[in-house]
Structures are given as structure tokens and as C-alpha cells.
């Protein structure tokens, strides 16, 4: 049985290299000068330089606020995730445990919308936000993501399976339902809330089409849409700088991914499959 294992490891290593090359190449290029990036195929820069990063973040001649874009993405990503986790947890708990009026009508209505492709909503949302004067605001970059029923569905399933005894004990001790929710239910749901938070952050941080459509002020670009501007604009063949920019844009996601991979995988496997 040993021989097949060894050949499997070899296959895995070769495939692994293939999968890692694009990212390694991105990081390697980001430490090269723009001229070296175009001419040299060496993985290791001849003249190792941080200049691309310094220029991208603080460049004097740069006419776009890249640091601001990074801030925007983190701000709407974190703000949006917190908002989603909060309102989805409340709604899911209400529907799973409390005597909410119209529950029999609300729950299927929410869950059925999971089937609806988002492509239908971005044009009317654009007009709605335009009418409210909300285009080119952080609100436009946050609120459309809060309507997704995915989190309500995820947490509803979790709360249904959560043993009632703890809540009942707290009620007997005189706690009202808000106290029960905040002191007993939320702490017990922490892993699930993290899962939903990471999912939502990733969706918002990586989204491309909606931020492209709903903002046109250079100050309000997210880093994901900003990259597209730079690729077509002043970084067009400055691959060193471009790769520094994409590396910077990827760092927050990689950090979250490495720290939260387990939560994330748990979230993927617990949704919709069973």
C-alpha cells in the first residue's frame, strides 16, 4: 500500500505548485521594479524593492486615494457584517423561538427569496438609491447586502436545534426575552455568528458589480473596484505596482481566511446541503 501513497503525494505536490504559482508570482512581482517585472522571469527579484508598496499607499504623484479605498472596503465590509449578523440573529431567533405574528407567512417568504437571482435587483436598486440621493454613499455600499435571507436561514436552523432548557431556566429566574437573547442565546451561537460574519465580509469586500454601479466618486471606490480603475489607468503596464496593489487588496482576505478557515468551512458545509 505504500507505493500508491507516494505517487499520490507527488501528484498533490505538483498540483499544489500549479495552484500556488499565480499567487507566488503576484507577490514576487510586487517586489520588482516595473522594468524588471517586464523583462525578468526570475522568481526572486534582482533588486528587491518596497517602492511599489510605498508608492501605491503614499505615492506623491498618485492622483487616486488607494489608502482610502482600502479603508472603504474594510469599513463597509466590517460595518455590513456587523449589521447583518445583528439583524439576522434577531430575526432568526424570533422566528425559531418566539411567538412572532405572521410567522407562518414570513418564514417561507424569506426563505423562498434565496432562489431569486440577484441580477433582477441591481437596476431597480440603482434607481431607488438614486431617488433617495444615496448613490455615492457608504449606505449604498452596505444596505443592499443586508436583505439577503441566507443568514436568517443559517441561524434559524441553528436556533431550532438549540436546546430550550437554558432559555427556560433563565426565564424562570426572571429574565425577559431580550435578556435571554443577549445573555444566553447569542453567546451560545458565537461560532455560527462568526461563520455568517466571515461570509458576509467576504461577499461585501469582494463584490465587484454593485460598487461599480452604485458609486462613481473616486473617493468612494472600494479596493476591489479601484483595482480595475488602476489596471486600465495609470498602472496599465506597471506590473510591479499593480501586483503590489493586488497583494495589498488580498492581505485582509488572506488573514481572515487563515484565521477563520474552520468557521468558513463549517459554514459552507452546513448550509443548504442537508
Amino acid at each position: 500500500m505504500r507505493k500508491p501513497k507516494k505517487s499520490l503525494i507527488l501528484i498533490a505536490v505538483l498540483l499544489g505548485i500549479l495552484f500556488l504559482i499565480p499567487m507566488v508570482w503576484m507577490v514576487a512581482t510586487s517586489f520588482k521594479t516595473d522594468t524588471e517585472a517586464l523583462s525578468s522571469m526570475s522568481l526572486f527579484p534582482k533588486h528587491f524593492t518596497f517602492d511599489n508598496y510605498v508608492y501605491t499607499l503614499f505615492g506623491q504623484g498618485l492622483d487616486v486615494p488607494i489608502l482610502r479605498w482600502l479603508f472603504n472596503s474594510l469599513f463597509v465590509g466590517i460595518g455590513g457584517s456587523l449589521l447583518v449578523v445583528m439583524i439576522d440573529a434577531m430575526a432568526a431567533y424570533g422566528l425559531a423561538r418566539l411567538n412572532v405574528p405572521f410567522k407562518k407567512f414570513l418564514l417561507p417568504m424569506f426563505i423562498n427569496t434565496l432562489m431569486i437571482p440577484w441580477v433582477i435587483t441591481f437596476i431597480p436598486l440603482y434607481l431607488q438609491f438614486g431617488n433617495m440621493g444615496w448613490l455615492n454613499t457608504y449606505a449604498a455600499l452596505i444596505f443592499p447586502y443586508t436583505a439577503n435571507a441566507f443568514g436568517v436561514f443559517l441561524l434559524y436552523q441553528f436556533f431550532r436545534g438549540f436546546p430550550k432548557a437554558l432559555e427556560e431556566a433563565a426565564v424562570i429566574d426572571g429574565a425577559n426575552k431580550w435578556q435571554v437573547f443577549i445573555r444566553i442565546v447569542l453567546p451560545s451561537a458565537k461560532p455560527m455568528l462568526w461563520t455568517l460574519g466571515i461570509f458576509t465580509f467576504m461577499t461585501i469586500y469582494n463584490d465587484f458589480l454593485w460598487p461599480l454601479v452604485s458609486t462613481n466618486s473616486i473617493e468612494l471606490r472600494t479596493i476591489t473596484t479601484g483595482i480595475a480603475i488602476m489596471q486600465q489607468g495609470s498602472f496599465v503596464s506597471s506590473y510591479g505596482k499593480l501586483m503590489a496593489l493586488t497583494t495589498l487588496a488580498t492581505l485582509p482576505m488572506l488573514a481572515i481566511f487563515l484565521v477563520g478557515q474552520r468557521q468558513f468551512i463549517k459554514g459552507i458545509t452546513q448550509t443548504g446541503i442537508k
Binding site: 503525494i9 508570482w25 503576484m26 426565564v171 488580498t250
Partner: protein, 302 residues
């Protein structure tokens, strides 16, 4: 024992739990859905303040072969379907093969390789596109340099056919195949060991075990990944928008690109909304067919 009492006030405070979500649900999902349908029944110019009601006129244009909108819509739809057909089988089979590979590695290596194959999923579409543009650059990209070392002529990866599609599919597979792998790894872990032991007792070869034990056990998960991958591929936008600009010509211009063009370049929101709604209906119908087909198979086997 019912410790949560049901007074009117209690009902009201319970409703407050659902209220915040209900508000955003109505404002940012329900109203846009209805409003979207309303727009699609009008001749809606983005810059004009009056919008003429045209009934199903916009939809009729999409299906009337003599109109410009028909050719735009059909070109986009056909390119999107091509991408679905090219990408989904690779994402499904590739994801399963990667999962089987990781599954059969020594325990110490499993975690590392799972992360390696999955990590590109964390990257955003614009980074994917810019990175692959750079790798595939005709004059200075890594791929053509490697080809040159092998003595091959440079390939115009993004501006000629069929390479433009190959590039878009390759970038997409590299980006998202790890997601399906993760789902399959989890499904494979849940196949009961007794089934394999029983198979061994019956003298089944590994190949027979795979076909008659593994595949049937993970079928519901396969259906799930086929449906989700198809939907994701249908929504393709960023890769061709950034990598090929829809070219060469309009041969990789997908439906979502056509819709965005109609809405924000031509400013014809009515026709764009009609296109979006037809696209959504096609996606829903395909999902239902995929679920039905697999349910029927299960029925036949029983």
C-alpha cells in the same frame, strides 16, 4: 410547560426581533423585485423623466429576431451558456478529484493541501483578473515565457479564439474549484466506514467501491454543487469584463455585460430590466430541472 407567555404586548415585543430584518428585506429586496418588473414594462430612458408604458414590448423585442436587442441578448445569452458548459463540468469533476486526492493523503498533509487548493477562493474577482492578465500577457507574461523556453510560439491568450475562453475558464477554475472540493471532502468524510468494509468483504475493487458506494452516497451533495456552480457561472461578469473586454469582437461578451451595457451605457433601463428578468427565469428553470432530474434518478433506482 410554556414559560414564554402570550400577551398582546409580548407578541409585539417578539415582533420587534423580526422588524429590523423585515424592514431591509422589504426595502432592498421586495420593493426592487416589484419595481424591477415595473421598469421592464416601460420604455425607461435613464435620463428622461417620463416613462411610457409598453406592456410586454421590451420582452417582445428580445425575442423578435429582426431587432438589435434580440441579437445583443442572444449573443450574451449564448456566450454565458458556453461558459457554463465549459466551466461547470470541470468545477464538479475537478473538485471531486481534488477532494479524493486530499482524502487519500497521509493525515499530516491533508490540512496543508486542503488550504493550498482552497486559498485562491479568498481573492476578489478584480485581483484574479489583473493577476491572470499579467500571467497571460502576450509579450511579457509568465505563460508565454515558459512556452518560449519550450521552443513554442507565443500565444495571444486573451485576444484570439479559442484561447480567450480557455483563459477565462482556467482563471475561474483556479479561483473557485477549491470551494467545491471543500464540500466534497466533508461529504466523503460522512460516508459510513461500514459501507466500505462491507464492500471489502464482498471483494470489491477500489474502482467498484467508488462507483457503487462513494458516488451514490454523495449524490445529494453533487446535486447541490452542480446547482450552485451553474448559478455562479451564469452570473459571470468580472472575468470577461476585465480580462477580454468581451473580445475578440463580442465573442466572450456575456449576458450580464450586455445587461450592464444596456442599462448604464445605452441608458435603456426598460430593456435591460427585461433582459435581467428573462436571465433570472432561465436560471431558476435550470435549477429546478437539475433538482428534478436527480430526484427522478433516485426514484428509478429505488
Amino acid at each position: 410547560m410554556c414559560v414564554l407567555q402570550e400577551t398582546k404586548f409580548s407578541k409585539f415585543t417578539s415582533f420587534l426581533f423580526v422588524l429590523p430584518y423585515l424592514v431591509v428585506f422589504v426595502a432592498f429586496l421586495l420593493i426592487p423585485l416589484i419595481f424591477g418588473a415595473y421598469i421592464s414594462f416601460h420604455d425607461w430612458d435613464l435620463l428622461s423623466s417620463t416613462h411610457k408604458f409598453v406592456g410586454f414590448g421590451n420582452y417582445a423585442k428580445l425575442f423578435d429576431p429582426s431587432t438589435y436587442f434580440h441579437s445583443v441578448f442572444m449573443n450574451g445569452l449564448w456566450n454565458t451558456i458556453k461558459f457554463v458548459i465549459f466551466s461547470v463540468p470541470i468545477l464538479i469533476v475537478g473538485g471531486l478529484l481534488l477532494a479524493l486526492l486530499v482524502q487519500h493523503l497521509p493525515d499530516k498533509l491533508k490540512g496543508i493541501f486542503r488550504s493550498i487548493f482552497f486559498i485562491s477562493y479568498a481573492i476578489s474577482v478584480s485581483v484574479i483578473a489583473v493577476l491572470w492578465l499579467w500571467l497571460l500577457d502576450t509579450n511579457s507574461g509568465l505563460f508565454n515565457h515558459l512556452l518560449a523556453k519550450l521552443g513554442a510560439a507565443p500565444v495571444q491568450w486573451l485576444t484570439s479564439m479559442p484561447y480567450a475562453w480557455i483563459s477565462i475558464v482556467a482563471a475561474t477554475v483556479w479561483w473557485t474549484v477549491g470551494f467545491n472540493m471543500i464540500i466534497y471532502i466533508n461529504a466523503l468524510n460522512e460516508v459510513p466506514d461500514e459501507l466500505y468494509e462491507a464492500g471489502s468483504v464482498d471483494g470489491a475493487t477500489p474502482w467498484q467501491k467508488f462507483w457503487s458506494i462513494t458516488l451514490p452516497s454523495i449524490r445529494p451533495v453533487m446535486v447541490f454543487t452542480i446547482v450552485t456552480s451553474t448559478i455562479a457561472s451564469f452570473n459571470i461578469y468580472g472575468q470577461p469584463y476585465l480580462m477580454t473586454r468581451g473580445g475578440p469582437g463580442t465573442s466572450t461578451k456575456v449576458l450580464l455585460m450586455e445587461i450592464v451595457d444596456q442599462a448604464f451605457v445605452q441608458r435603456q433601463l426598460g430593456i435591460a430590466s427585461a433582459m435581467a428578468i428573462v436571465m433570472a427565469i432561465i436560471m431558476i428553470v435550470i435549477s429546478i430541472i437539475q433538482f428534478r432530474l436527480t430526484r427522478n434518478n433516485e426514484g428509478n433506482e429505488a
